[in-house]
Each structure stands twice: as structure tokens, then as C-alpha cells.
């Protein structure tokens, strides 16, 4: 358990409304507790935040200083002003969504979210029209943190990054619980699950599992 002083309150503001947070809360926690909506994709309550999708960005202002931060990880401090829908923030979200439309054109969820921000189409090259995965890594984090088996991992890096199992063969460490499917924000894991778990009924002996 982290040593947190739960009594101390931090006063700041979100979109001009006064907000109070306790130590250890993030901006997102506080905003949600107040009923303020911030869009997220890679955030899930059951696992640690990773700050990968950058959709939950907000602008933090303190006098003349201003910075775009991710609300799912940013700890508010006394007096900071948080704007959840400023122009800078919207600019980031719009571009991210437009690029996402090109990255995972097959995802209904992404399309719906993009439409909310007025992004209907994308100018960028669509590499794979079937793609749904945005590589937020939620499946990997759930598998490690909640299920505890670490059957999948993020392989490679940069544009080649992908969710995979070692040597691209079904991993026998997988317990076929489907938690990854349940948390996937874009529906991509549904298509990938069979590659991870393989043919469960044929499973015997030892695989890569530890």
C-alpha cells in the first residue's frame, strides 16, 4: 500500500468549476467523480494507466504556463486550472482520431468516437482495411495485471508494433479467459484471440508458460 495522506484535499479547477481531489487522485479520477466526461481509449479501471492513446489529454494552466497533459496520469496540484476542451486539446484529439481512422478503419468504436469530434474521414493512407487494433496495450496489461499469466505481449516497436505471442505461435500460457477481449476498446482482440489461445481442446503438455 502506498503511503498516502487521504485527509489532505487539493483545490483546483476543472473548466472553471472548483474541484477537490485527494492525494493520489488523477485529473481523470476527479473529473469523473464530478461527472465531467473526458474521452479515453486506453484507460481501464482495473489496470494501471499507461497514457498511450492521448485522447484523454487536457490542458493544464498555471498563470502564463500552459501544458497539454494526459488526465489519466496527471496528478493535480493546488491551484492548477484544467481545461478539458480547449482548442489545443481538441486539436490533439482531432488529429489523433483522424490518424486512428486510417490505422484501424474497421473499428466501429473508433468511428463513433471520431464522429463525436466531427472527424468523418481520413486523408491518410489506409494500410489494412481490416485492422481494428490501435495498440493501446490494454489487453497486455490486463493479461499481466489482472489475470497474471502474461500470455501476450507487445512485440516490436514503432510502426511495426503489434500484439503477439512469442514466436507468433499460440501461447500455452494463455488460460483462454477472454479478459483481453473484454477490455479491448476497439474490438480488435476478438479477431486475434484465436491466434493467441490456439485450439484449446488440443492443448496438452507444456508450452512457453512459465
Amino acid at each position: 500500500m502506498k503511503e498516502i495522506d487521504t485527509k489532505k484535499l487539493i483545490n483546483f479547477s476543472i473548466n472553471g468549476t472548483p474541484a477537490q481531489a485527494k492525494e493520489g487522485w488523477t485529473v481523470l479520477d476527479t473529473a469523473r467523480n464530478m461527472g465531467i466526461h473526458i474521452p479515453t481509449l486506453c484507460h481501464h479501471e482495473a489496470v494501471e494507466p499507461s497514457g498511450a492513446c492521448r485522447l484523454c489529454v487536457v490542458e493544464a494552466r498555471d498563470g502564463a504556463w500552459s501544458k497539454v497533459v494526459v488526465s489519466c496520469m496527471y496528478p493535480p496540484y493546488e491551484g492548477v486550472e484544467i481545461l478539458t476542451d480547449s482548442e489545443r486539446v481538441k486539436n490533439v484529439r482531432r488529429w489523433v482520431l483522424e490518424m486512428l481512422l486510417a490505422q484501424c478503419p474497421a473499428s466501429r468504436e473508433i468511428k463513433a468516437l471520431a464522429a463525436e469530434y466531427g472527424v468523418k474521414s481520413t486523408r491518410f493512407r489506409i494500410k489494412n482495411p481490416e485492422e481494428q487494433c490501435m495498440l493501446c496495450g490494454l489487453c497486455v496489461r490486463v493479461c499481466a495485471e489482472v489475470v497474471g499469466v502474461q500470455a501476450i505481449s507487445l512485440g516490436s516497436r514503432g510502426v511495426l508494433k503489434h500484439v503477439s505471442t512469442p514466436y507468433m505461435v499460440p501461447n500455452r500460457a494463455c488460460i483462454a479467459c477472454g479478459s483481453c477481449v473484454t477490455v479491448c476498446p476497439t474490438g480488435a482482440m476478438q479477431a486475434r484471440l484465436d491466434k493467441v489461445r490456439g485450439d484449446v481442446s488440443q492443448r496438452t503438455g507444456h508450452g512457453f508458460a512459465h
Partner: protein, 821 residues
């Protein structure tokens, strides 16, 4: 009926713990779709719920802090969170609330988001009332919990490594390095003997001799080691932490017993030669082990040796292993005899990976790798082997003076016996399966049995040694935890009530995780204990126990009955309930919820760990409390995470169907289905179709007579003889077909039906007599039950003889009454 209501439900009594319910708004996902205000109001009328509250997000830090606060202020002991998927969020809640008096097992999460808000269309108040029913049933489930204390595991005694495989030494090395007392049971104490015998299981490993010698010496010199040479393993008793291992000894002496804390089985598989296939004669055409022996005796040959990797031709998947062995031997031969010529002939379907250093080595040593076209089999001739060149498709010949074939691998007869004694189910020729079951998260990473060596799956010596080290690592970890007092058995495992256990052995027979072990007790039968570190908590054994002696702690049949009763009582006539297993039905329903797929809102799903956990009594209870239909949704066939839960549920459902039929209720009111978590649309079809079936039939016409009959059915389901006979039909781990074995299916079914009828009648009579105190004539009984007198008479006779009822003659007419104690 009322006296039945609490038959298997725990009575909370005076110090019943308070239950708090927390409802999540979950942003836009729950709040606007379900009228949470109304839901709060409905729930506050439920007597067992003492506090209801709505939170924006129960699962995030602000929400959790609020829950902690309320739990402490209001002295709440059990918590229901109504939000999203329990599979995902429950571990976090358990972790966060553990220090606040809410131990594992005292939290339940109801997925109103996935089962109500996002899949059902309807106005928010309707959805609120549906949610309320699910939440109330969950509260009843928690209310019936009698918490079991945590079991601390301690290791009493050293670690024993038996089986005599090569992994013995690597495991022992690791253990003694960690200063853990170790006993190794081997067949020979002589190091050189061990190395001489190495080729039996791992031919061609000359390069490893030195290393192996070093390991054995290190082990032997350690003060923590005790080496014993023993005979056959006779029996193993006890559970992890305290085993008694008994070996046979020479004729007149008593068997040797050792008390140990943990066991590692080092089991090496065997290699058999090809018999006469492929021209095998043991002299010119040999197998790997024979070649190794040949070199051992006569040195490296100075002629042309051809290794043919013929595993694919004998339909065995270990070609790469054979190729490695051949490569090792080839190097040795070339290095030790410059006049030798070595070629390795392999099927081009095998992918041979050589590092660049090995490629250079191959070239330097002049070892030829020859791939051939795998579609055509090479033929062995005297001095030649013909093969089809993959490049030009020409049949070519390769000359040989010695031809070495791949061996046939076998787990070994002795090894299989040892495995069997350790509680593993073995099948004649199959390699030992390790961890075939996929268990629930809290047990992930726990090894239930520690086995290392090529008897599990053919492997290299290095891999065997690795497995030995790994087993030792795992044990070291456990012992370390235990020494710190931090090693506890998982909370949801089976326990045996020794008072009820008769030692019939049914559970041991159907248990696949090897968690049920016999204990030596007085008398003829051997009562059972459960090794909590081996048990995977599937619970089908508990559901099968004829005497309710086994139970799944913190997740008992009583709790499930309470849940099913609470829900059934609240359901409207046109509503249908179902149980989904955590891995199949529930997961598929979660998935459907996630994707927002709509389906019939009159279906109520309850979660269960494995569909096999559902006792007959749980199913019966549903109908007893007013359900009109019960759907059980498990994993796809052969994909049960607890081995055979679905198959066992199948047998139980069939029995219920028979019972329903007996009392004139449609058989279709209970059904077994399976769902793949990744196919939510299939799940929806299942649900919609079942609701349709029930709709067509309408509600069960319940009158007093019918209620009494259902009650009798419920009692029959708890009858130990019925359960025993059913137990005979449950699928055993060695059976390879689903549904279970069909041999003499009809004869069995008839027997079962006879038993059912008989026991049902008995119970009806008993219940009738119980209900109407005083004495009754045969005629009255026959009349009230609507059965033929003859049958009743014989039954009455038996009951009287058994001393369950008493018979009084008045005017030479027998009057029957229940015997009062």
C-alpha cells in the same frame, strides 16, 4: 415449503454480517440507461441489504475511498458492487478492500452494465427492476456465505526428488544452493553409472558429460543432500507441505517411509528402436541409443554414417529433437575420427535452424545436410538409401555403411506408474500432461505437481535440466513464502468434511487436477483429503459427492442455492433464468455486453465458476422456488477450464430432465448449452432461442400437489443413492469422448431410471408421512400419491425394515407413520 427454503442455505443467525450495495454510474454507460434512483429504492426494501449507495465509479480511487469509508462507518461486512464485468474488476476491488475487513469471497460484482444496461432495450425503470433482481440474488449469495479461515501452508520436512531422471541433479543443485534440505531417491549412487546410463534417454550428449559430472559432484558434496537408493515407489500419502513417501524394500524388510514437505518427480522417457521397420537390425541400421552405445564401446566409426531423420515418416513430431541428436553425434564422430564421413538426411518439411557458427562448423567438419522431397519416402536398400532431391526432383542414392534412424519415444512404463501414484491420470502411451487445465487467475503460476524430464514431453537433456531447475525454483519460492508465514492456500478450493466422508473414492476418480488424495485411516475405506495447493477449485467433485462431504469453500452449493432461490422467487412468470460459467457463458455475455448487442431482456444470467460446480440440488432448487426454465451455459466441448465440468453438467441435466418428466413437467425446461467467449452472437442465439422455448410452453402450472411433487424431486436430488448412481456415469479423466462413454448406455439409463423411480417414491412417502403427522393407511397413501398400491407396499416394507417409518396394526390393518426419534 418454508421448512425447505433453508435446507441447504446457511442460516445467518444473530451475528449476520451487514451487506452493502454500491451502484456504479459508469459515466454514460449505466446511469442514463438504468434508473439508479429507483433501483436504490427497490433495493432498500430488501431486508438483507442494509445500505445502498450510488457512486460515479466504484472502481476508481475516489469511489473506492468512499466504499472504504462507508464500510467502516456502517460496519458493513459484505459488499455487492453493481457495475461491470466481475472477471476484470473483482481482483482490484478485492485488493483495495482487503485491509478494510472485506476479505476475499465477501465481495460480489454484478455486471448490470453488460447484462442489463448495454444489451437490453427498455425504459430505465424496467431495467432498474431487472437489475434489482440480479443484485438481490447476489446479496443472498453473499448472505449465505460461511467464511472459511485462510489455510496457512507449512513445509514439514525436506524436499524429495524421486523418479531417478536426470532432472534429479539439476533440481537438487538448485535446492542445495538455496540451502534447502533435499533427499534424492536414485537407483544408483555411482556418478559414472549415471553418466553411462545417460544415453538411454539422451543419446549423443557427450559434450554434456563434464557438466553433468560437475553438477552431480556439487550435489553430492553439499551438506544439505541426503542420497538414498530405493526400490519401487509404493505410495504417497498426504498433501503439499507434508507427504509420506513409501518405497518397497527387499523381501523381509518393512517398506521404507520418508516424511517430506514437497516432491519433485524427475521422470525421463524412454527411447525404443524401430523394431524391424526401415531395415532396422541393430547392427548396421541402428537407432540413436544404439549408435551412442556403439560409439561408447568401439569409438567413433571410420566409415560412412548416414543419419536419417525419419520422424515424419513414422508420424512423430519430434524431428527437430532427432536432428539435434544426430548433429551432436555427427560432430563427435567427425571430431574423433578423420576417416569418417557423415551425412544427415532430412525431410524438407523440417525447418532446421543452424546458427552461423554452426553452419561454419558444419562446413569445416564436412557434415553434409541433405534435404529431400518429403512427399516421397526414401527407401532403404543394402548400402544405399534412395531419396528424391528437392531441387531437381531426381531420385538419388546415398551410400551408407551405418544408417542411423530416429528412435521411437515413449514415456516409460515405470515413469507412468510413479505419475499415477502421485495422483496424475495417465494413459498408456501418452506423455504426461503438465498443466492441461486452464485455471482461474489466483492460481496461475502455481505448479500443482512438480514433474521434470522427457516423460512429460520428449526433450533435450538441457531442457530436462532446465525443467528440474525450474521445479526447484518454484519450490524454493513456495518454501520461502511459507517460512515467512505468507503462503496461504487459495481461498476457493474444496474441503472434505471428514465426518461425512465415507471414502467411496468417487471424487478421486473424477478429479482431474490431482487435488484429492487418500489418507490412511482406520477401517476399510480410505477417506479423502484435498491438497489445497493442487486443487483448481473446479468443484465438480463437490457437486458429485453423494454425501455432500466435499464442498467448495467460500463458494458453496448452499450459496449458489441461496442465489438461485432469491432470483427465482423474484422472477415474473415470463422470465427465464440461467447460469453461465465464468469462462464460457459469462465471458460470452460480457463480450455481448461490451459490444452492445441487444437480446431478450427477460433472461437473467447468474455467474458460476464452472458449470460443473452446479449441484443437482441447485438445479432442483430453481424449480422449487418458482423458476419456469433454467439454462446452463458452459464452455465449448473439450474446452472446459476445469477439464470435465461441461460433461458432468450434461449428466446432471439429463437426470433433472428425467425427474421433471416424472412429475409431468416438460423436459425442455432445463437445458445445457455452451458458448465460446469470442462468439457473442452465438450466445445471443442460444439465449433468445431458449426464452422462446419457455415462452411457448408458458409457466409451470403450480398447485399444491405440484409444489409437493417438486419438493419431493428436490429431496430426491439430494439422495445419496441417486447421486451415487449418477456418479457412475460422470466422465472420467481417461475417457476421451464427449459426452462420456456410450458403452451400454441404454442399460445404464434404465438402471438409473429404476433407481430414480424407487428413491422418488420412497421420498414421496416419507414426505407425505412427515407432512401429515399421525398414522395413515396404505390406501390413503396410495390415494394421495396417485400410485399403485403394490409398488407402495413394497416400498413401505423396505422403509419399515430400514427403521425409517413405523408400522402399527390396528384391527389387523397396518397403519404407517414416520418414526419419531
Amino acid at each position: 415449503m418454508k421448512n425447505n427454503a433453508n435446507k441447504h442455505a446457511a442460516t445467518g443467525g444473530e451475528n449476520r454480517e451487514k451487506i452493502g450495495v454500491f451502484l456504479c454510474e459508469c459515466g454514460r454507460k449505466i446511469a442514463p440507461k438504468i434508473d439508479l434512483k429507483l433501483l436504490e429504492k427497490i433495493l432498500s426494501n430488501d431486508q438483507i441489504i442494509s445500505h445502498v449507495m450510488t457512486l460515479p465509479y466504484s472502481c476508481e480511487l475516489p469511489g473506492i475511498e468512499k466504499i472504504r469509508e462507508i464500510v467502516q462507518d456502517k460496519h458493513i461486512g459484505r459488499v455487492v458492487v453493481a457495475g461491470c464485468e466481475p472477471r476484470i474488476i473483482l481482483p482490484k476491488l478485492e485488493r483495495e478492500l482487503e485491509g478494510f475487513g472485506i476479505e476475499k469471497g465477501r465481495i460480489d460484482v454484478v455486471n448490470i452494465r453488460g447484462y442489463v444496461a448495454s444489451v437490453n432495450q427498455g425504459d430505465p425503470s424496467q431495467l432498474a427492476s431487472k437489475s434489482a433482481k440480479l443484485i438481490s440474488s447476489s446479496a443472498a449469495y453473499l448472505d449465505a456465505l460461511i467464511p472459511s479461515p485462510k489455510t496457512r501452508i507449512e513445509f514439514k520436512g525436506p524436499v524429495m526428488i524421486l523418479g531417478g531422471g536426470m532432472a534429479t541433479y539439476s533440481a537438487a543443485q538448485e535446492l542445495v544452493r538455496q540451502k534447502i534440505e533435499t533427499i534424492i531417491a536414485v537407483y544408483t549412487e555411482d556418478t559414472e553409472d549415471v553418466i553411462r546410463m545417460l544415453h538411454e534417454s539422451y543419446p549423443g550428449k557427450w559434450d554434456s558429460h563434464e557438466r553433468l559430472r560437475a553438477i552431480i559432484n556439487e550435489v553430492n558434496e553439499s551438506p544439505y543432500i541426503k542420497q538414498i537408493t530405493v526400490g519401487k515407489l509404493e505410495k504417497v500419502r498426504g498433501v503439499m507441505g507434508h507427504y509420506v513417501v513409501t518405497f518397497a524394500s527387499e523381501k523381509d524388510k518393512p517398506p521404507l517411509s520418508y516424511e517430506v514437505g514437497a516432491i519433485i518427480a524427475a521422470l525421463d522417457g524412454e527411447m525404443h528402436n524401430q523394431g524391424t521397420d526401415f531395415g532396422h537390425d541393430g547392427k548396421r541400421v541402428l537407432c540413436h541409443t544404439e549408435m551412442d552405445e556403439h560409439i561408447w564401446l568401439h569409438g567413433a566409426p571410420g566409415h560412412r554414417v548416414v543419419f536419417w531423420i525419419n520422424d515424419l515418416e513414422t508420424e512423430r513430431p519430434y524431428a527437430n529433437l532427432s536432428a539435434r541428436t544426430a548433429w551432436n553425434m555427427a560432430i563427435y564422430i567427425r571430431e574423433h575420427n578423420v576417416f569418417s564421413r557423415v551425412s544427415i538426411l532430412y525431410n524438407n518439411k523440417i525447418k532446421i535452424l543452424l546458427s552461423s557458427a554452426e553452419q561454419i562448423m558444419s562446413r569445416e567438419l564436412g557434415i553434409e545436410w541433405i534435404p529431400y522431397d518429403g512427399t516421397i519416402r526414401p527407401t532403404v536398400q543394402d548400402g544405399f538409401i534412395t531419396y528424391n532431391d528437392q531441387e531437381d526432383q531426381i531420385e538419388k542414392e546415398l551410400g551408407w555403411e551405418q544408417l542411423v534412424l530416429s528412435p521411437l519415444r515413449h514415456p516409460g512404463v515405470e515413469q507412468l506408474k510413479v505419475a499415477q501414484i502421485l495422483g496424475l491420470h495417465t494413459d498408456g502411451s501418452k506423455f504426461l500432461e503438465r498443466n492441461p487445465q486452464m485455471v482461474r487467475p489466483e492460481q496461475v503460476g502455481l505448479d500443482r505437481k512438480f514433474i521434470a524430464g522427457s516423460a512429460c514431453e520428449p526433450c533435450d537433456l538441457k531442457e530436462t535440466l532446465r525443467q528440474g531447475r525450474r521445479a526447484a525454483h518454484k519450490i524454493t519460492e513456495l518454501i520461502g513464502l511459507a517460512n515467512e508465514g505468507r503462503l496461504f492456500a487459495p481461498s476457493m478450493v474444496c474441503t472434505v468434511d471428514q465426518g461425512k466422508c465415507t471414502g467411496c473414492g468417487l471424487c478421486r476418480e473424477i478429479c482431474d487436477c490431482g487435488g484429492i488424495a487418500p489418507v490412511d485411516g482406520p477401517g476399510g475405506n480410505t477417506p479423502r483429503v484435498v491438497d489445497p495447493m493442487s486443487c483448481t477449485g473446479g468443484g465438480t467433485c463437490a457437486a458429485a459427492c453423494p454425501y455432500h462431504a466435499l464442498s467448495l469453500q467460500n463458494n458453496t452449493t448452499a450459496q449458489r442455492e441461496a442465489r438461485v432461490a432469491a432470483l427465482a422467487r423474484r422472477l415474473d412468470e415470463n422470465e427465464v433464468m440461467g447460469y453461465g460459467c465464468n469462462w464460457g457463458g459469462v465471458a460470452a455475455a460480457d463480450h455481448a455486453g461490451l459490444r452492445g448487442m441487444h437480446y431478450n431482456s427477460r433472461f437473467y444470467l447468474m455467474p458460476v465458476g464452472c458449470i460443473g460446480q452446479l449441484d443437482l440440488s441447485v438445479m432442483g432448487r430453481a424449480f422449487l422456488e418458482g423458476a419456469n426454465g433454467l439454462l446452463l451455459i458452459g464452455c465449448p466441448p473439450e474446452e472446459c477450464h476445469h477439464s470435465y465440468g461441461l460433461d458432468h453438467a450434461w449428466s446432471r441435466v439429463l437426470l433433472i430432465k428425467k425427474m421433471l418428466d416424472l412429475i409431468g413437467i416438460e423436459r425442455e425446461r432445463i437445458a445445457l448449452a455452451h458458448a465460446d467467449l469470442n462468439k457473442p452472437d452465438q450466445y445471443i442465439k442460444t439465449v433468445n432461442s431458449f426464452v422462446g422455448i419457455i415462452d411457448k410452453m408458458g409457466p409451470i402450472k403450480r398447485n399444491e400437489m405440484m409444489e409437493a411433487k417438486i419438493n419431493d424431486v428436490y429431496d430426491t436430488l439430494n439422495n445419496s443413492r441417486v447421486r451415487w448412481v449418477l456418479g457412475a456415469s460422470l466422465r472420467r479423466p481417461w475417457e476421451t469422448t464427449y459426452p462420456s462413454d456410450q458403452r451400454s448406455a441404454l442399460a445404464y439409463d434404465e438402471t438409473l431410471f429404476d433407481v430414480l423411480m424407487e428413491e422418488f417414491l420412497r421420498i414421496r412417502i416419507i414426505n407425505l408421512l412427515k407432512k401429515q403427522p399421525g398414522v395413515q393407511q396404505l390406501q390413503d397413501i396410495s390415494c394421495s400419491l396417485g400410485e399403485e398400491r403394490q409398488q407402495i407396499l413394497s416400498c413401505l416394507k423396505d422403509l419399515t425394515e430400514e427403521g425409517i417409518i413405523s408400522r402399527i396394526f390396528k384391527d389387523r390393518i397396518p397403519y404407517y407413520s414416520i418414526r419419531q426419534e
